[in-house]
């Protein structure tokens, strides 16, 4: 079964072509990494799947519907800099907003049924926090826990509504290596247990090796898809960029992409190396 089907999709933003001719199929229950250098359009592709940016060409189908219609069945964690990190709010309240944050009116339960529902929602929030292993610090101010802990709470917020698809934009960014490995393992187990489809944008494939069903590599506005071993090869990436690219493999199986041109407007070349 296909969870996300992208055919011939193109995105133009501010007169620049960000993505063109993207063809992808993501199967239900798969854990897929979206890789590529800075400025390759990884976040833009995620936003297109959510229906947050318009397509200039082609189409995207999510769970058999339009992206906007499917939005409520997707849990989304945006790239981290969009959130103020010193919020005066507890982690548990933040997770809770993932469940009832879109509801109008005051959260004052007047009927027994409303009370029961609020109680059930509080339970679900606690469960989601337990799944990501954040129970011990969920009551602390969000701004005072570590980056990895914040990331787990935000993943709990994306998970709490029981989404069929989880889209995480750079969830490993800014975390130390042990936290990256722990988070990758966590995502794999959540996907397996819930039969959930997960798409995660990553800079570096190495912390995810061994957990992925497939990889999508974006470069030069186009996309390659397949297993990690199929996609991250010298001939495939050279063809994608139209320039010679080397893929090196270290003794412990880590992959290093060498020679990939970066998009003009990015800062810093962190790509490929761990």
């Amino acid at each position: 079964m296909t969870a996300i089907r992208i055919s011939g999709a193109g995105v133009r933003l501010g007169g620049r072509t960000i993505l063109s001719d993207i063809d992808l199929e993501i199967g239900a229950g798969e854990l897929t990494a979206v890789l590529g250098p800075n400025g390759a359009g990884k976040s833009t592709l995620m936003r297109a799947i959510l229906g947050l940016v318009p397509l200039a060409a082609g189409s995207i189908e999510v769970l058999g519907r339009s992206p906007v219609a499917a939005r409520r069945r997707i849990g989304y964690l945006p790239q981290r800099q969009t959130l103020q990190r010193s919020l005066p709010i507890r982690g548990i309240d933040l997770v809770r907003l993932g469940l009832d944050g879109t509801r109008w009116g005051l959260p004052i339960p007047l009927t027994a049924r409303a009370r029961a529902r609020r109680h059930a929602e509080a339970e679900r929030a606690l469960q989601a926090i337990e799944v990501v292993g954040a129970t011990s610090y969920a009551e602390r101010p969000f701004g005072e826990v570590s980056g990895g802990e914040q990331q787990r709470l935000l993943i709990a917020q994306a998970l709490v509504g029981d989404p069929e698809i989880l889209i995480l934009d750079e969830p490993l960014d800014g975390l130390d290596l042990p936290s990256q490995a722990a988070l990758a393992a966590l995502l794999r187990s959540v996907c397996d247990r819930r039969g959930m489809t997960a798409l995660l944008v990553a800079h570096d494939v190495n912390p995810l090796l061994g957990y992925l069903d497939r990889a999508v590599y974006l470069g030069g506005g186009h996309a390659l898809a397949g297993t990690v071993d199929e996609v991250i090869t010298a001939p495939k990436l050279s063809a994608l960029y139209g320039a010679p690219i080397d893929v090196l493999r270290s003794a412990d199986g880590r992959l290093v992409v060498v020679g990939a041109p970066e998009a003009p407007h990015h800062h810093g070349g962190r790509h490929g190396t761990p």
Binding site: L50, R72, L83, G101, W104
Partner: protein, 282 residues
């Protein structure tokens, strides 16, 4: 007009309430405290204090302009703040994902507003109370009509906040995730600015245009340092604002100094104490 304080608080309360102008001031102050502390709680969370400040500055040309063309000053407050809020909402919409362009646009509007207010004032020398009253507040001359108008504005504002409470909270915290969930973030940004404009216009009538922050920022900021929970935080913010208004008005009544001074000092003291105790506890 400086009654002396008696040892019995009940007698003092009686002294306070024997004059209709004082009853009006207390009623208006109570209404304003509740509205300002609720809207202010969101404003502090959204880090839009600069926008709030600009709206309060716009109250000044609103009041002087209205007086110049013979309209009631309070109508001038509402019109100017409402119009400024709409204008600010409009300029910030294309860049609503980042609030980068917003501060520059707001700063420009603010200066023009202050200058216009000064012009209107020089054109019309009969503004009641002079610029001090408009800028630093008064509790004299609030009539029952104004109190009713304040009540209507407050009820509309609070009802609107009650409806958008949670979507506004999530779009204040995490606009991108809120948008992805289908929350109309841009529309809520605009609605919030308009509500902020109304709250500022109402508050200006008690504290004056420049001291609006005594109620709009100090109580919510202190409340957010005392509790992280949104519900109790809002209730606490209201309670602190009410305390500031009631004590400020009473103190002004028994002394020769204006209420704005007392409210601002109380707000500042409150914020200072809360911040210091919080730092000490770490």
């Amino acid at each position: 007009m400086n009654p002396t304080l008696s040892p019995n608080p009940l007698t003092d309360l009686n002294t306070l309430l024997q004059f209709p102008f004082m009853v009006n001031a207390l009623e208006a102050g109570t209404i304003v405290a509740v509205t300002a502390s609720v809207i202010g709680w969101y404003m502090v969370l959204r880090r839009q204090a600069f926008a709030g400040h600009t709206l309060s500055v716009m109250a000044f040309p609103g009041a002087t302009g209205a007086a110049l063309i013979g309209l009631p000053t309070s109508l001038g407050y509402y019109l100017a703040c409402g119009a400024a809020a709409l204008a600010m909402g409009r300029t910030s919409i294309p860049r609503s994902r980042s609030r980068v362009g917003e501060t520059a646009a707001i700063g420009t509007v603010q200066t023009v507003g202050l200058a216009a207010g000064f012009l209107f004032l020089s054109l019309n020398h009969q503004v009641l109370g002079g610029p001090e009253t408009l800028l630093f507040g008064t509790f004299l001359g609030i009539n029952t009509g104004q109190v009713s108008a304040l009540l209507v504005v407050a009820l509309v504002t609070l009802a609107a906040v009650a409806i958008v409470a949670r979507p506004l909270l999530i779009s204040s915290i995490d606009p991108e995730a809120a948008r992805a969930r289908g929350v109309p973030v841009v529309l809520l940004d605009g609605i919030f600015l308009l509500l902020l404009g109304l709250a500022v216009a109402a508050t200006s009538q008690i504290t004056g245009a420049l001291l609006v922050f005594a109620l709009l920022v100090a109580p919510p900021a202190a409340a957010q340092r005392m509790t992280l929970r949104p519900g109790p935080g809002l209730v606490l913010s209201i309670a602190l604002a009410l305390g500031i208004v009631w004590i400020g008005l009473a103190a002004a009544y028994f002394s020769p100094y204006p209420p704005g001074f007392y409210m601002t000092s109380l707000g500042f003291a409150l914020y200072l104490v809360v911040s210091l105790t919080r730092r000490a506890r770490r």
